[in-house]
Symmetry: C2
Subunit: 199 residues, 2 copies
């Protein structure tokens, strides 16, 4: 037996699928939609369909784009000798925010995970190998997340690239800036010691 009438219940259920939305928030959101003018509710509904319809993967690097090739790959000023390999388009955005890196990207679309049934062939690894085959690319920076799956994927890609004479590197591990030694977990601390640099 539901507390709310059917259409509200159904809409709240949709909001509950979103990250960080519990039952109460979902209901509040559903009511907020009902409070919107007809026109605005229509725009909301359309924005969902439109995003889903128009966002596709860049045919070169697998990044999200609304065209055929993404903005980074189109940019003539980018250094085409370096490719940074990430799991997800969101990682591209995070790295772009830093305004430090000027190379290209390659979005894997996930990580190798036997438990979740993700095999190397489910990722864009083949595409990456084709990209590096013409000799333009000198270095591949592997920036998968520091998780077991991320590490495995990094290792896997690095093993495929090394026979091709391409330099592969991995993002540095360590204490985050502004972090506190006291609260850093042991693995991170261990990596920070291993990766220490001369001053």
């Amino acid at each position: 037996m539901s507390e709310y009438i059917e259409p509200i219940e159904r809409l709240a259920e949709q909001f509950r699928r979103l990250p960080g939305v519990g039952k109460k928030s979902a209901v509040r959101m559903a009511f907020a939609v009902l409070d919107l003018p007809e026109e605005d509710a229509k725009s909301f509904s359309d924005a969902i369909l439109e995003a889903k319809r128009s966002v596709r993967l860049c045919s070169v690097c697998g990044n999200m784009t609304d065209g055929d090739v993404c903005a980074v790959c189109r940019d003539e000023d980018r250094d085409r000798s370096v490719i940074c390999v990430v799991e997800d388009s969101r990682d591209v955005i995070a790295l772009e925010r830093v305004r430090e890196y000027n190379g290209l990207y390659h979005v894997l679309g996930g990580v190798i995970s036997p438990l979740a049934g993700v095999a190397p062939s489910d990722l864009t690894i083949d595409m990456l190998l084709r990209r590096v085959s013409d000799g333009t690319v000198k270095e591949v920076i592997i920036a998968t997340n520091p998780t077991v799956e991320g590490e495995t994927t990094a290792m896997y890609i690095s093993k495929l690239l090394s026979p091709l004479g391409i330099k592969t590197s991995r993002l540095a591990y360590g204490i985050p800036v502004g972090g506190d030694l006291e609260y850093a977990d042991e693995v991170t601390l261990n990596r920070a010691i291993e990766g220490r640099r001369e001053m």
Copy 2:
């Protein structure tokens, strides 16, 4: 200059309109929608339009319903001699959750608020007066929120009803159950003392 591509930015903007959703959450939600299968994104979009289209106000009490008359008004077992007046349909749901009250409701659709430009004629007060005019209703419980506007509205309605010989009452004020005297504000505490009951 936006960090995200247009369709994602537009969708995130829509999510930002919802209560409790900031910029970061909105973007996470937009990406979550992109991760949904085509089919599910369509259902999401449809649920918004459908809720907006099918939810209307009960022609008797002003409560939200997907039919012509709401479930409470349709229910034959309800005590038709008592009407509880609330601001909003959400208040009906809150009161129904208690499973104590067995009368009918009347949803005002807001409160009198000169500042926000809401006059008595913008509310369903006329409808309430027509409902109580046939003599079936013996008591009207005014359950507007304990805010300045809620109080004003309660007072206004009570003044209209008293010449008709209908008993009007107001929900009790006091310390919430499980609350702490130490943290109760002075107005609430004052009302709790005023409304004290013999044991």
